[in-house]
């Protein structure tokens, strides 16, 4: 009871602030919270990154396993993305197999990685039709304070970028760095009271009526997009978010070194 009253008050407060062009934590509408990226955090993974955006804390690991390619792409490695919204990360996350939220997160991250052709999957083929590297990208959400899409994507890109192909351990030759072709960036905006904000906190997400994630490449071209939440965006809002994503994407990309 008390809880929902408080949250009702907070909701009003957030909405009022935003209608005055302000945010609870004082950020500008297109300003991200502080971001930290720590790569090679886990030795047992081929690549890994712990990414924090504000209090959102995500750990991404890449495991590479020798496997067989899909029949329709015999000369390409395989990419598989999975997200675990473990109960550690939030009282709203429940144990069990991936629910619709973690599946949507994983699939949106996966599309961004795949469609940007970030990894040169042909370089991960050892013998056409027979032996390729399978890349398992696993996203664990350790602490959830909003904007999982961008934190997870940044983590996945950083983990892949830091990965080393474990040729030696598999008796396949010399190790080499993951063959990277581009560094895509996803940028997520929400709509609250007809205003658009980037990098929403959890409190802001709860008040938001629509969400749009846009993944762009170095040229500012679009590679993936996902609208979410129960709400509508105008065409102009969509265009505005895309333009902002192109601009902000350039800034965020610098964090990847």
């Amino acid at each position: 009871m008390a809880r929902s009253v408080v949250s009702e008050i907070k909701r009003d407060h957030i909405q009022k602030l935003i209608s005055k062009g302000r945010r609870l934590d004082g950020r500008a509408w297109d300003e991200f919270r502080p971001i930290s990226i720590e790569t090679n955090y886990i030795e047992s993974a081929e690549g890994s990154a712990r990414v924090r955006i504000g209090n959102t804390d995500v750990l991404v690991g890449v495991k590479m396993i020798v496997g067989t390619p899909f029949a329709d792409t015999p000369n390409k490695g395989v990419l598989s993305t999975n997200a675990e919204l473990i109960p550690m990360g939030s009282p709203s996350f429940e144990a069990g197999p991936p629910d619709e939220n973690s599946i949507e997160l994983a699939r949106v991250v996966d599309r961004g990685l795949r469609e940007s052709q970030m990894i040169d999957l042909e370089k991960l083929c050892m013998e056409e039709g027979k032996e390729v590297w399978m890349n398992f990208v696993d996203i664990y959400v350790l602490d959830y304070d909003g904007n999982l899409f961008d934190a997870a994507f940044l983590g996945a890109v950083a983990a892949l970028k830091s990965a080393v192909v474990p040729m030696k351990a598999n008796e396949k030759g010399e190790d080499f760095p993951m063959p990277i072709r581009s560094l895509p960036i996803s940028c997520t905006a929400v709509q609250i009271e007809n205003s658009i904000l980037l990098d929403p906190t959890l409190d802001e997400e709860k008040v938001a009526s629509a969400r749009l994630t846009v993944t762009t490449d170095e040229n500012g071209d679009l590679r993936a997009m996902q609208k979410g939440l129960i709400g509508a965006l105008t065409i102009d809002q969509v265009k505005g978010v895309v333009e902002t994503s192109q601009r902000v994407g350039k800034e965020l990309r610098k964090l990847l070194g």
Partner: protein, 255 residues
């Protein structure tokens, strides 16, 4: 998206492999009220896609903890039947259908006046009987007709269509070959009257200019789909009115 394939999908006259122009829709057929048990239903054919939608509700919300004391929840389940695609699909939800169900649920919840039915669930079941690219849009298009057929008050019907990029051109309403070998896919759903976007996804590779062009094409096509939706409901009501007296007679016979 298959990416920059060499497959030629548009000829030198700008004609696609199924004979359409780049901004041309496939044939669309919509029928409302096609099932008896469901409270509302619709059948949609777009090209070779065959999709059924059924609505049950407002009814008791089943996973109890999901009940909302202030409004109804809208639960859409999108499903492809096992023989709707060339490789047999194992029955039951896969990750793709879970995601599609989620975003269609969100789109539908926006247009339904959910405050009218607190604590209830409005359940929409979309079954793709035959798939040929664009099934989520066909399903969403069917869903809002089925909701209207069920007599559930809504802001408006929601048409949906996919735009894409094939052989470096932005084209409307991709078919299966274009989807397989194309360069981008942008499914979208709108409220034509207000121009609001309810569903929007994109994957592939588009410049910003191409994307803006895609939005324009899609917006116009949604209006066409919208007219077909309204027409289906008009035909449905007409039939109902004609049937009504006959039904009354039957009841008399039985009584």
């Amino acid at each position: 998206m298959g990416g920059n394939s060499n497959v030629k999908l548009i000829d030198d006259n700008g004609i696609r492999i199924d004979g359409r122009k780049v901004d041309e829709l496939r044939n669309i057929k919509i029928e409302a009220g096609v099932l008896k048990n469901a409270d509302g239903s619709a059948y949609v054919e777009i090209g070779k896609n065959k999709v059924l939608a059924a609505v049950y509700g407002p009814r008791e919300c089943h996973p109890r903890h999901m009940q909302n004391p202030a409004k109804a929840i809208v639960q859409v389940k999108y499903n492809m039947i096992s023989f709707s695609v060339s490789d047999r699909k194992r029955p039951g939800p896969d990750r793709r259908s879970v995601e599609i169900s989620k975003i269609i649920s969100e789109a539908m919840e926006y247009v339904v006046f959910t405050e009218n039915y607190p604590r209830t669930s409005i359940d929409v079941f979309i079954e793709v009987l035959q798939a040929n690219a664009g099934t989520r849009c066909a399903g969403l298009t069917a869903a809002s007709v089925a909701l209207a057929d069920a007599g559930i008050p809504m802001k408006d019907l929601v048409p949906a269509i996919a735009v894409g990029k094939v052989n470096d051109q932005v084209v409307l309403d991709l078919n299966k070959e274009e989807d397989n070998f194309g360069q981008a896919d942008v499914p979208m759903a709108m409220i034509p009257r207000t121009g609001e976007v309810l569903l929007l996804q994109m994957d592939g590779h588009l410049t910003y200019d191409e994307f803006q062009h895609a939005l324009e094409l899609g917006t116009k096509a949604c209006e066409v789909v919208y007219e077909k939706q309204k027409d289906a409901l008009r035909r449905r009501y007409k039939v109902e009115n004609e049937e009504a007296p006959a039904e009354a007679e039957t009841q008399n016979q039985e009584a």
